[in-house]
């Protein structure tokens, strides 16, 4: 019967203890700050705040940036990009050659490169990787090789398969033969998904076992605990409870060795929290600072690094709607949009109005396409010419999502819809959750008249932009029979000669703007990085493919 009194007392006591310990904790923490990092001759630790969980660390089974960030530090690709650009340069292959048919690729491999497990990187290892992908068994595994499916068309036994075979001509020469020419190469060899992994480790840790469980898949020990590549960092561990991926310096790296001893990728999903952690000094760099915070961070002395734009946001037009089949109506929509104002009011720093569906650094960008300057009167005039006054359109936009090219879909929709209304087009906004209906409705069923969507380029190739959108009939844009457009893009993509390819794609881009207008390009919006002042050597990549071996943290 005295329990109640005692309970109260002990609760109070617990409170007191808590308060005392908090005080102690504060002290302990400041000690740590003073003690850690400095002094030692070592490079210290670099903590980078990422925006999401990676899936696993087997490159071939991944397709998203958050997984690729750590993978890229641990693995290398045959061909890579010059830092800060989308220009190709040698990776594991010092050089590469394409024969006249465009089907045979010969890679001269770098000498003396070793995987983290000590096994040598040679032509046999490279071929083992190509063969592994091609011969992957099981629908579960195959269904997760999204880039492979996209670039290489299919697996062993499929008539669409692009890959034929890989031969180790000698220890340092690998010859990859394709069944046909594909414009994606050599750019696609830079894809992080096609990183070269250690065949020994893959065998040891059973890399190909992907098992279905319920509505999803389990991956191998290789993918989860023993990723083994040739990269500047080795795998230290992934603490899922704290969301920390630890990477250690690879002392035997073939290229520029990492300047820091250890790198931690800390996963912080909320952009606001990433910023606050940066300010608190608990992380040294953050990805994707909110557009709204860039100025404040820069003013406070943080480095805000813009990646050169390599993406596109567009307003898709569905020609299943007969009214929208009329080019004049589509042009009216283009004229109605005040894209300059959208960029000014809602564009993240460095954003620019897009006139074409690819950034100007990519081959085939034309300087002289038709531009649709904001002009409401012109829009109204075109609409009445087309007999499409009083038009009502269903405008689909996604919710529950942000994308580098689309930091805030709701705001973008609201502004665009507003512009269209001003030109006399009635807009019926239809929000759909990104994975809970938007992609289905837009890309599977084509329920929309208009929608916003975009793309971040994977490698420097026009086919990766316009080819992806307009190279074949897609429900998204309605008309399955725009054969003229499909043919032109297909032909341009199949052109082996680079100069001819450039000319062909320039023409494609001119026609896209003036003749076909299947969508209206809105903007290129470069995603940024922000770091503390003492971080040096972080080179932002247009492909969000930063490598952190060049980063150093000064005191």
């Amino acid at each position: 019967m005295r329990a109640s009194g005692k309970g109260l007392r002990s609760a109070l006591a617990a409170g007191t203890i808590a308060v005392l310990t908090i005080g102690a904790a504060g002290c302990a923490e400041s000690d740590r700050d003073n003690g850690g990092g400095e002094g030692s001759a070592s490079g210290g630790t670099f903590i980078f705040a990422g925006a999401g969980d990676p899936k696993n660390f087997d490159p071939i089974f991944n397709d998203d940036g958050e997984s690729f960030r750590p993978i890229r530090q641990m693995y290398d690709t045959l061909i890579t990009h010059k830092p800060g650009t989308a220009e190709l340069t040698g990776g594991l292959a010092e050089s590469w050659e394409n024969d006249a048919s465009g089907k045979v690729w010969t890679f001269k491999l770098r000498q003396g490169v070793k995987f983290h497990d000590g096994s040598p990187l040679d032509a046999a290892a490279v071929c083992a990787n190509f063969d592994r992908w091609f011969n992957m068994k099981g629908e579960a595994a195959q269904s997760q090789m999204i880039y492979y499916q996209d670039v290489f068309g299919g697996f062993a036994g499929s008539k669409d398969a692009v890959y034929d075979n890989c031969k180790a001509q000698d220890a340092s020469t690998a010859v990859v033969t394709m069944t046909r020419y594909k414009g994606a190469f050599p750019g696609a060899f830079t894809l992080t998904a096609f990183s070269i992994a250690s065949p020994t480790a893959m065998k040891q840790y059973d890399s190909d076992t992907v098992t279905q469980n319920g509505d999803s898949f389990s991956y191998s020990a290789f993918a989860n605990e023993h990723p083994t590549g040739t990269g500047a960092f080795t795998f230290g561990g992934w603490n899922k409870a704290t969301g920390e991926i630890t990477l250690n310096k690879n002392a035997d790296y073939w290229g520029d060795k990492a300047k820091v001893d250890k790198m931690i990728i800390k996963i912080i999903k909320d952009e606001n929290t990433r910023k606050q952690e940066l300010r608190a000094g608990t992380v040294q760099a953050i990805d994707y600072p909110a557009p709204a915070d860039r100025k404040a961070l820069a003013d406070e002395g943080y480095k805000v690094l813009d990646r050169p734009a390599f993406n596109i946001l567009y307003l898709g037009i569905n020609q299943k709607n007969p009214k929208l089949k009329d080019l004049r109506v589509r042009q009216a929509i283009a004229y109605a949009l005040n894209r300059a104002q959208l960029v000014q009011t809602k564009g993240p720093g460095g954003a620019a109005v897009a006139d074409e569906f690819l950034p100007n650094t990519v081959l085939g960008y034309a300087q002289d396409v038709q531009k649709y300057e904001y002009n409401v009167d012109k829009a109204k005039q075109l609409l009445s010419e087309a007999g499409a006054t009083g038009l009502t359109l269903n405008f689909y936009y996604p919710t529950e999502v942000t994308r580098p090219y689309m930091p805030n879909p709701q705001e973008i929709f609201t502004v665009l819809a507003n512009d269209l209304q001003a030109a006399g087009i009635k807009v019926n906004g239809v929000p759909r959750p990104w994975n809970g209906g938007f992609k289905d409705d837009v890309q599977q069923f084509g329920k929309q008249d208009l929608h916003i969507l975009g793309w971040t380029g994977d490698y420097n190739d026009p086919g990766n932009f316009v080819g992806t959108f307009f190279g074949r009939g897609k429900v998204e844009f309605g008309d399955q029979a725009m054969t003229e457009m499909f043919d032109a893009i297909g032909k341009a993509d199949a052109t082996v000669d680079q100069a001819a390819k450039k000319t062909a794609f320039e023409q494609v881009n001119r026609d896209l703007a003036a003749k076909w207008l299947p969508a209206v390009p809105i903007w290129h919006a470069p995603p940024a990085l922000a770091t503390t002042k003492n971080v040096e050597g972080l080179v932002p990549s247009p492909l969000t493919a930063e490598e952190f071996n060049t980063v150093s943290v000064t005191k």
């Binding site: 808590a18 608190a280 608990t282």
Partner: protein, 335 residues
């Protein structure tokens, strides 16, 4: 007592099965679904087809349901779409985080709420009482995610009093034994880790405690006032008992009865509050898991398991509350 517990557990199982079936069929009827969630933006139609077959979505729905049921009965909730781990693993990792947070919040709420409510009742109508009432009313009316934002902005940005997010400092390299970081530090003698975890715990726990605290204060106050009005307190007074004795022996014990009930009812509210609090403080618990499983990714297997877990926790906690009620209140015990 055993009969009560077993009856409750049977009830729980039946409820959960019904809930599960409902959720299963509902999810299958939705657009998008796991296929969409598993495919990135790069997916080609071929990949989509492959995946549909790999997941067995081309089979009749009752075959799928049978498989689902078999899995669930054997404790297999499938794998998370987002991370590819078994759902049970994902949840058992997040569970301690939320429990740690919730327990801290409950300790704050009870530790402050009961004394404050009691004091307010004792000083009924005076400044302390009125101030307490106003503060609790605001506490109930403030959106707690906003409160979390404010606390975070004031105390971690301008003043670096607390860390802005997470459960422990990055790179602390603590040993994970139970998943309760504060406890782990004590167990492994990594006292600095324990202190650091506690330091991270303060703001989220305070944020999460706000509503339960306000409610406990109010209930305690009302309950103490009720008890003070009771005849047996007058009897105790008539006996000439000293005030402290009356308070401890006669007032508090009786006044705590409704508070115990409310604490049980608050468990649910705590889970809901954890969703918001954890998002604000990037706290890797169940709340974050819920947000992650819905927002964008639609991680249905995890979501499914979470719904079941929430219901189970709620039922179990209320069973515990009932049992504790029986311990405190002899009337329930015997009847």
């Amino acid at each position: 007592m055993l009969r009560v517990i077993s009856r409750r557990l049977v009830q729980l199982v039946v409820t959960l099965l019904a809930l599960m079936t409902l959720v299963f069929f509902w999810l299958r009827s939705l657009p998008g679904g796991p296929v969409d969630a598993l495919l990135g933006e790069r997916a080609t139609p071929q990949t989509r087809e492959l995946l549909t077959r790999a997941l067995g979505y081309d089979q009749p729905i009752w075959v799928q349901y049978g498989r689902f049921l078999k899995n669930v009965v054997t404790g297999n909730f499938g794998n998370s779409i987002r991370t590819g781990e078994p759902v049970t693993e994902v949840i058992s990792r997040a569970f301690p985080a939320t429990v740690e947070l919730a327990v801290a919040a409950i300790i704050i709420a009870i530790g402050l709420g009961v004394p404050l409510g009691y004091l307010a009742a004792r000083h009924r109508g005076r400044l302390l009482d009125n101030a307490t009432i106003i503060v609790t009313l605001v506490g109930i009316s403030i959106p707690i995610f906003f409160l979390g934002y404010l606390l975070k902005d004031w105390l971690t940005q301008g003043l670096h009093l607390f860390p802005p997010s997470g459960r422990i400092s990055t790179g602390m390299d603590n040993t994970d034994v139970t998943g309760f970081f504060v406890l782990d530090g004590l167990l492994t003698r990594e006292l600095d880790a324990s202190a650091d975890a506690l330091w991270h715990l303060v703001l989220p726990a305070v944020t999460l405690a706000t509503i339960p605290l306000a409610i406990i204060i109010r209930i305690t106050r009302a309950s103490v006032l009720d008890v003070l009005d009771e005849d047996y307190i007058r009897t105790a007074d008539a006996k000439g008992l000293r005030n402290p004795t009356i308070r401890k022996r006669h007032v508090l014990r009786n006044a705590l009865l409704p508070v115990v009930t409310i604490i049980g009812l608050q468990t649910g509210a705590l889970l809901a509050g954890a969703v918001l609090t954890e998002k604000v403080y990037n706290w890797g618990g169940l709340g974050t898991l819920i947000t992650d499983s819905i927002g964008g990714s639609r991680d249905y297997p995890v979501l499914q398991a979470l719904i079941l877990l929430a219901a189970a926790v709620f039922v179990v906690v209320n069973l515990l509350v009932d049992l504790s009620y029986a311990v405190i209140d002899p009337r329930v015990r015997v009847r």
